[in-house]
Symmetry: C2
Subunit: 424 residues, 2 copies
């Protein structure tokens, strides 16, 4: 079905808060086979809320509205909707009971203020209620409208748990077949990827390829649409194989698979444990690695050696080496990697040292210069790159490159190649 | 002036990419005194692009359009705009020259493909051109429309460098006075803050207070609008003082000031250097600290001790202590903090150990249990919290709480209190 998403809140239109709820909803709806044609963000203005909802209802098969459902004085969505749809605000005692039951442990003053959440437009049904999560739906002129909280994790939970399935029931049948895959690409710019893949599109809108730079990597989407399941699948499998072949080693994962998850999988496949020594990235690579559940199986830990003294004390980098080559040098990166591997007993160790900026650059070593060392039992390899951008961009780019160095090292190792490539 | 923002791209409406450009533009326009009433996100559909632009032009004084200006085959904005505004696509040789001059170092095949960017709707003027950044504006029926790239850092640069100033010139006069401040609050839920501050609003729309939970903290905005500069300023100063008083120590900063920046400032004021020992946060606190430019002045580094072995080897935590109390315990947190302080020679050291989940919890220590140790020359203090949510939420909440423990410890120290509080 065709859907529209409306996000409400002055905090969004004034740029104080980034709207992540519409993004999340769009992704979930797309995956469920719906098409979101427009996402509109407006402020806490009752008249604008009403007009926007009426306009979306006129265009779409269903509408999702997020935000403005809470108990504070700037939450105006329910009143605005009651006016616009001519469905007077009605008190639902059973909803208040549910809210009260769900908030037994909340402070008394909070529990009292929750009564506001039991006043809904006539005809509304609660999606689920507890102390902190409000959400309801109503069917207006034969179109379902879902009202969800603006707080991202509350909204996401309700959307996944109830909205997607209610929409499926509402729709009844599957009207068309859509196959989609997202490819995550490291180490190639968008234009180069576009040149490699452009010929795969046949110009009939049956096959659609999208290119999305997500700094510092690029994501590519393949969408195949058809009326018959069998032919849609066949085309999808054929184009998918071509995409994989054209992207080669630069394709690191598909779907939701992150670079750190791929590195974790390769470490498990290789039976290796990892340690890290970070300077300019300040712990970011370690954090990315530990965002993956179960990472304690293959990650020992590491050192964040921001100062030269800690590079000497924690990693055993020699003072003379630091003096001769400087903290940011392939030689120091190599010594850091060997040092953290020796100190921790890890099988594989990565070290990063660089100049994130904005100050600290020189003519010989400009801001953005980052050196990596990668130590295994067999050898230590060093890498040097110069990244562009602001401090956070240099840190993110260095983190991404470091993870990709780990990935490619393990991928080119025989064991990893045999076990992992097919599982991508 | 009243503005609308239109973001274009299938990657946005299908939820593959989070739209950060509209957010950034809204914040900059708000700060410049404009009001954004609606932000619309639509796919790469020429007809929809045209209709949305015409609808926005009918409502707003100016429109900003982002995305779809690149050289790949899914970039359709310029053609759609040319059709909708009946301004035929025109080749601008001088723009192509500028693009070529700005892309001397680009690969030859990329330089050739850039010709597409020199075809613009009739009447368009380039904002600035080089190899990777496209952007133009045109005035249609006496309303300025700005077309900017969808890639966030390119768009942000053009908006700040050229669009804001062109709008100011266009507007000519300042029509009203707006004073605004954002307060960043740690350690209090949204409803409690709302109760504290609700009485400050006078109901006349002259004073507006907004509440924005930004997990795991809450942001509060104060906006005072008036026709006279003097009275607007006076009201703003008065309410600002009341807000600060009511929020007390829970107010950690204003505007763009992050918690890690406040911690850095307090470290400088106290002449202290910091070290960290992280387990469940896996380097996240270190990374937050090092995101701040100049953090090498007060941050030595630390250890990410994910395994028990590393807690022993790098921090000198005794095996017997780990065996008796477990890795996640106030006792271990205390030993980790003292260990990293001893190893690094830091003045102040924070340690974090916890169970981020999803597995690893027990009845006595459920998922979300996090212990902190804070060691200074005078004493070591321990803290224990249980955070709710998924793995990433526990990690983020623990990171935030750790930074706040550092802040409050230094704030309650005499020197810090005298030097820093007034500077907030």
């Amino acid at each position: 079905m065709i859907g529209e998403i409306i996000a409400i809140g002055d905090e969004l239109t004034s740029g104080r808060i980034l709207n992540t709820t519409s993004y999340f909803a769009a992704g979930q709806l797309f995956a469920a086979g719906h098409e979101v044609t427009a996402m509109t963000t407006i402020g806490d203005d009752p008249k604008l809320i009403g007009n926007t909802l009426l306009a979306s209802l006129a265009r779409a098969d269903f509408v999702i509205v997020t935000g403005g459902l809470g108990v504070t004085s700037d939450d105006l969505t329910t009143e605005a909707v009651a006016d616009a749809l001519e469905r007077p605000s009605t008190f639902y005692p059973e909803i208040l009971n549910q809210i009260r039951a769900g908030s037994k442990n909340a402070p008394e003053d909070l529990r009292l203020s929750l009564e506001k959440m039991a006043w809904l437009p006539a005809g509304a049904h609660a999606l689920k209620y507890n102390a902190t999560t409000a959400g309801y739906f109503l069917v207006h002129e034969n179109k379902p409208i879902f009202f969800l909280p603006g707080v991202p994790h509350e909204m996401e939970e309700l959307l996944v748990e109830t909205v997607i399935s209610r929409l499926a029931v509402w729709e009844g049948v599957e009207a068309r077949h859509v196959r989609q895959r997202l490819y995550r690409v490291a180490g190639l710019p968008e234009t180069t990827i576009n040149e490699k893949l452009a010929l795969l599109e046949d110009g009939e809108e049956r096959i659609r390829i999208g290119y999305y730079p997500v700094f510092p990597e690029v994501h590519v989407s393949l969408t195949v649409v058809g009326t018959k399941e069998e032919t849609t699948d066949r085309t999808f499998i054929e184009i998918d194989a071509k995409v994989r072949n054209l992207l080669g080693d630069n394709l690191y994962g598909t779907g939701e698979e992150t670079l750190e998850a791929v590195v974790g999988r390769l470490l498990i496949d290789n039976g290796m444990v990892l340690a890290l020594a970070e300077s300019c990235t300040g712990g970011l690579i370690s954090h990315r690695i530990t965002r993956v559940p179960g990472s304690s199986e293959y990650f020992l830990g590491g050192a964040v050696t921001y100062s030269n003294e800690l590079k000497e004390q924690m990693l055993g980098v020699e003072e003379a080496l630091l003096a001769e080559y400087g903290a940011v040098s392939p030689e120091t990166a190599r010594a850091m990697a060997e040092g953290i591997r020796r100190e921790t007993g890890a099988d594989i160790a990565l070290a990063v040292t660089g100049i994130a900026g904005p100050s600290g650059g020189t003519a010989a070593k400009p801001v953005g210069t980052v050196c990596f060392g990668l130590a295994t039992s067999g050898e230590t390899v060093e890498y040097k790159y110069i990244f562009n951008g602001e401090r956070w961009q240099v840190q993110e780019a260095a983190c991404h490159k470091g993870l990709d160095i780990l990935r490619l090292t393990m991928l080119r190792h025989d064991y990893a190649k045999n076990q992992s490539c097919q599982r991508l």
